[in-house]
């Protein structure tokens, strides 16, 4: 019955639409654009309102801000340290050198020949052969132990080939080269001046893993603390939520202020973390420079890079937002008019 009734109306509407197509279309457009701009305006309004609400009463939010800030500062400081150590290890990579000690009693001709063969290997930039006698002369000249050496019945030093790999040779290639060198019959031991560097690399790898583990744990802490703060904010506004739902507020509308609040908690916490990191850097920079100077190095502590700082802030805002989302989705459903 309603079908029958509707049809002529629809036909009429069609005709009208044809007649006034242009006007109708533009009216429609203005309508939806108006709606969209109202939606955008509400976002702006809520963003500003929630931020003002937080800033107006900073003491109430201070605890949350500080927890977020500290939770971000810890991995941030580690990140800064790691960045610096990588810069440090990069500098030393350049002076990597391999000492190939030959069997005792290897004569000079054999040694020179081996040095030339090694020189032709891929992954070798330069070799230098030092026979046992000149090694002893060197030692005598530099060590000041002349008298003691005279007591020895024979030369205690082996001949040695110094092998210089090219700059920035990948670690795996370097290890392959060492294996090759070890395989020569004349070779007694192969010593890398970079054994310590390898350890440093291992420490760096470990630190990176540590930052991840710590970062994930502290991210969880941020989720929990923001989530709990938002839970309290929801509890304080139960009446308002009921009324809003009663007069037709959608879930998105009800959620919006809480999500923005979470975002602001993350942002303010992130900015405070920047401040803490700058303070850390300022406190450590002097002593580190002093220590480096004692080791004859011009090393200086760099602050966290701008890119890393932005990532930290962004992560903080996303975590704050997620914490709010988690809390809101758990508690908002329970509040019905």
């Amino acid at each position: 019955m309603s079908e029958v009734r509707r049809k002529p109306v629809a036909k009429n509407a069609d005709k009208k639409a044809q007649e006034k197509q242009s006007t109708g279309a533009s009216l429609q457009k203005i309508g939806s654009r108006k709606r969209l701009s109202a939606w955008g305006a509400h976002h702006q309004l809520v963003a500003a309102e929630t931020l003002l609400r937080l800033l107006k009463n900073p003491l109430a939010s201070l605890l949350t801000w500080m927890v977020v800030a500290i939770a971000l500062t810890l991995p941030g400081a580690l990140w800064m340290a790691l960045d610096n150590m990588q810069q440090f290890s990069g500098r030393f990579q350049e002076s990597g050198r391999i000492s190939v000690y030959l069997q005792p009693g290897t004569d000079v001709v054999q040694g020179r020949e081996l040095a030339q063969r090694i020189d032709r290997l891929p992954g070798v930039a330069e070799t230098e052969f030092i026979d046992a006698d000149s090694a002893l002369d060197d030692f005598r000249a530099n060590s000041g132990l002349e008298a003691a050496l005279d007591f020895l019945p024979e030369n205690p030093l082996p001949s040695v080939i110094l092998v210089e790999p090219p700059l920035q040779l990948p670690h795996a290639e370097l290890m392959k080269l060492v294996g090759q060198l070890n395989n020569y019959q004349l070779v007694d031991t192969v010593q890398m001046d970079m054994a310590w560097l390898e350890r440093l690399q291992a420490i760096l790898d470990l630190s990176e893993r540590l930052i991840w583990v710590l970062g994930i744990l502290l991210a969880l802490a941020i989720l929990l603390v923001v989530g709990n703060t938002i839970r309290l904010a929801i509890a304080a506004r139960v009446d308002e939520i009921r009324v809003v739902k009663l007069v037709g507020g959608t879930d998105a509308w009800v959620r919006r202020p809480f999500l923005y609040t979470g975002l602001w908690y993350g942002m303010v916490g992130g900015l405070l973390a920047w401040l803490l990191l700058i303070i850390c850097w300022a406190l450590l920079q002097g002593p580190v420079a002093q220590l480096a100077e004692l080791y004859g190095s011009g090393f200086t502590l760099k602050p966290l890079s701008a890119g890393a700082a932005m990532i930290l802030l962004l992560a903080a805002m996303i975590l704050g937002w997620l914490g709010a989302w988690w809390s809101v989705s758990r508690h908002l459903g329970e509040i019905e008019p």
């Binding site: 019955m1 309603s2 509707r6 108006k34 709606r35 701009s37 109202a38 939606w39 305006a41 509400h42 009446d239 308002e240 009921r242 009324v243 809003v244 739902k245 009663l246 007069v247 037709g248 507020g249 959608t250 879930d251 509308w253 019905e336 008019p337």
Partner: protein, 235 residues
Amino acid sequence: MTQGNSNVMVRFDRVSKRYPGGKEALSGVSFDLHRGEFAFLTGHSGAGKSTLLKLMMLMERASRGQVFVDGLNLNRLRPSQVPYLRRKVGVVFQNHQLLFDRSVYDNVALPLQIAGYSPADAGRRVRAALDSVGLLGMEKRNPIELSGGEQQRVGIARAVVNKPPLLLADEPTGNLDPELSAEIMNLFMRFQQVGVSVLIATHDIALVERLGHRRLILDHGQLHEGDVIAGGQYV
């Protein structure tokens, strides 16, 4: 069923409601409320008046039967559509549910803000709504400073500001003296005159009889039309 009939604002079709673990609050209730119609819903305390109103807002869902509001089958309404149903229905409660952390103006403007009106449009409509309940000068006041009757009228302004086709009220005069009650009822009747369907739950029998409109009478969850039962024996 002819639920598409554009003349029907609300249709209850053999609706029952049983609360979890409770007895039946409504049993087999059927009635139509037409567009622009005004009706009272009366009955003893616990008869099911509030439950009936809540079903129309989907604050509760029917256990059996079907409820239609403005052609919408509420049984089939998805949760995401509920807010849009509620924008079509203005409600006034005895505990007026005003927010005391904001002005009268902001209380009344809330439904418009939610529906996405621009501040200028909203301003015009809020003032019109406040004017219609006689509170035009009180926009900036906090509702907590107002008398009970004035607060109730702010609640009514909020319920009608979005021009909903259906207006529901649950004991809107519960706390008010007879004079104020009559004033509030007059207000509701004026909305009916501009085409709004109005359903008012009340146990103020004297007032209802004096005003003489259609009466729906609930008795232990069962509905009777007032004009069928002479002498109001179910009251």
